[in-house]
């Protein structure tokens, strides 16, 4: 990851000008150059095949499905053109679903990056207990999502642990999972606490990757810790922040298990985010055509965000090239 932070050494393959004039004078056909090309293709073949077979072909099929209407019982399908896309506009539930998706993703990404960076900065100094706390904050990451969410589900019951705890200090806690706003809050917080450890570790690694000489030089120049953080630390860890933001956004858009286990999208539609709605339409209601259309909508969000981030990457991550 902070391979990005280092100036790319003149490593083979990094240059876009990959084709060089070939040496055709020597008699042996299998020159080092040709062997390299063969090895390159063979080495990437399994990964490429996996992506083609399990990502690209399915995306193509999803586009085809979205143009068809499926009859699950007869197994037949008929071409309906853009009917499924027109149905998006007439779907009375979709605005609520998209709103919930935006709130959930926004909440998760902001909280996750913010808390991850805070924890990393707090832990990025030598003191007794630093390793211990790092282990604690990271530990939910290795806990199964479903188990973690089940436990929080118990704790968030009306008569569960969290309200029991609030009760002891005289606060009458809400029935967290039965009210729209608190259910959304519960899903976001449960998700962030479980996963923020990964970002914390990545940020810590990036912070430790900043050369100490830069800090020393800045201190000699009389820079305060705030200036050092904004002028040295932040720019140097920006590639990691960016990569992490991409993974976190994509992850938030994919959060199915948390919602399925904690709220099943409820109450009403309050926590039915797009990914859960896709699952409902495609696998519970067997609306394969419409489900595929919604899945493509999810895909286009991911792609759009990624394009924006690639643009920002060009602007911010100056030392990558």
């Amino acid at each position: 990851m902070s391979g990005l932070t280092k100036t790319r050494a003149r490593t083979p393959g990094a240059s876009p000008a990959a084709t060089k004039p070939r040496d055709t004078s020597g008699p042996p056909f299998w020159t080092i150059r040709r062997r390299d090309v063969l090895a390159g293709y063979l080495f990437i073949a399994p990964q490429l095949a996996g992506v083609v077979l399990f990502v690209l072909v399915p995306v193509g099929l999803a586009i085809w499905y979205s143009l068809n209407d499926w009859n699950v019982f007869s197994g037949g399908q008929s071409f309906v053109g853009v009917d499924n896309y027109a149905a998006l506009a007439d779907d009375p539930q979709l605005p609520s679903v998209l709103g919930a998706t935006a709130v959930f993703c926004g909440g998760v990404v902001v909280l996750n990056i913010g808390l991850g960076l805070l924890l990393a900065v707090l832990l990025n100094r030598r003191f007794r207990g630093a390793t211990f706390f790092r282990t604690l904050f990271f530990s939910p990451v290795v806990v199964s999502v479903v188990a973690w969410t089940l436990v929080w589900g118990f704790l968030l019951q009306d008569n569960g642990g969290i309200n029991g705890l609030l009760d002891t200090v005289g606060i009458n806690g809400p029935n967290w999972l039965q009210r729209g706003d608190t259910a959304m809050l519960s899903v976001i917080v449960t998700q962030v606490i479980r996963s923020v450890g990964v970002n914390m570790v990545l940020f810590l690694a990036a912070l430790q990757g900043v050369p100490a000489q830069l800090y020393e030089a800045a201190r000699l120049d009389g820079a305060g810790s705030r200036v050092i953080f904004t002028r040295i630390t932040l720019p140097l860890i920006s590639p990691t922040l960016l990569l992490t933001a991409i993974i976190t956004v994509v992850g938030a858009l994919q959060s199915f298990a948390q919602i399925a286990v904690l709220t099943s999208g409820g109450p009403e539609l309050s926590t039915t985010v797009l990914v859960y709605y896709v699952f409902q339409q495609a696998f519970e209601f067997n609306h394969i055509g419409y489900g595929s259309t919604l899945a493509l909508m999810l895909l286009s969000f991911v792609m759009l965000l990624t394009l924006v981030q690639w643009q920002l990457r060009r602007k911010w991550v100056f030392h990558e090239q």
């Binding site: 003149r10 083979p12 393959g13 090309v37 390159g40 924890l119 530990s139 990964v198 991911v302």
Partner: protein, 284 residues
């Protein structure tokens, strides 16, 4: 010197403040897991007793034995273990090969093909699962473990793994190849004998990421599997409901504890590999 002792006192105070702040922040990270274990040992009526407590005077293991009698839990456990191990091994192989090639070998179209692979990182598996279900249905692989193994080991986390491996390899000095070439090593030998041994931190990060992803999969087994004896653990955890649909709280918590605790113990024992492994993959 008084100035020295006052600065020492100030740093002690700062340390105390830092530890207190971290301790408060740590509560929601730690208490749920501790409570899960404690509650799984409580008799059912005690679980919702107020105020909540992490202690019971009357611990019982009955919820644990009930977990095994209510579902084929031992079988489900074995399913999760073998699938996660297999997926991890395949991913290590596939991603280290691809990552090495993309980082160190020049071949026509390398950059374009790398972008194609990156698409795999950006397309959520929740998007592809609708058509994948139809593909696997046609292949007769519904209600088998094949979709869980193939898709996880070759797409999804494997693409992230390839990306991590490439980032790791690209930062290594070019002299490594030159030295290996002088010894007459071809690309497979360079990859196996020089680069893989150097890549241990990245490989352990990839292994941990992949194992946990497979171990945690929930949507995929929910969609592909219908027979309880084929279920994986996360899926099984949600099926502890009695004949009337009521949740069997303490049985569920006992099963969750059995799912979580071994991984947590390995993590605490090998935390350097877990945490440093992930950190190292970002450092190099």
């Amino acid at each position: 010197m008084s100035s020295k002792s006052s600065s020492q006192r100030r740093s002690a105070l700062r340390h105390a403040l830092l530890v207190t702040a971290l301790g408060v922040l740590a509560i929601p990270f730690v208490v749920p897991t501790v409570w899960m274990v404690a509650a799984s040992l409580k008799p059912l009526p005690e679980i919702f007793k107020a105020p909540p407590s992490l202690w019971t005077s009357d611990p019982t293991l009955s919820a644990y034995s009930e977990a095994f009698s209510f579902q084929p839990f031992a079988r489900q456990y074995a399913n999760s273990v073998y699938i996660a191990v297999l997926v991890t091994l395949i991913t290590l192989l596939v991603s280290s090969l691809a990552g090495y090639a993309f980082a160190r070998i020049r071949f026509p179209g390398a950059n374009a093909l790398f972008l194609v692979v990156l698409v795999g990182l950006l397309v959520p598996s929740e998007v592809t699962i609708v058509p994948l279900f139809q593909m696997f249905k046609r292949a007769g692989m519904i209600n088998t473990h094949w979709p869980l193994i193939l898709v996880t080991a070759l797409a999804g986390p494997c693409v992230l793994a390839t990306f991590i491996m490439r980032q790791f390899f690209i930062a290594l000095p070019a002299e490594l190849e030159e030295a290996g070439r002088l010894d007459g090593l071809g690309r497979p030998a360079l990859w196996w004998r020089i680069f893989l041994p150097l890549a241990r931190p990245a490989l352990s990060a990839v292994a941990i990421l992949t194992f946990l992803t497979s171990w945690n999969l929930y949507l995929e087994p929910t969609v592909y599997l219908t027979s309880p004896e084929l279920f994986t653990l996360p899926q099984a955890l949600t099926r502890f409901t009695d004949a009337y649909g009521g949740e069997m709280w303490n049985t569920q918590l006992a099963a969750a504890t059995m799912t979580v605790l071994p991984v947590l113990v390995v993590f605490v024992v090998a935390q350097r590999q877990f945490v440093e492994g992930l950190a190292h993959s970002g450092l190099k």
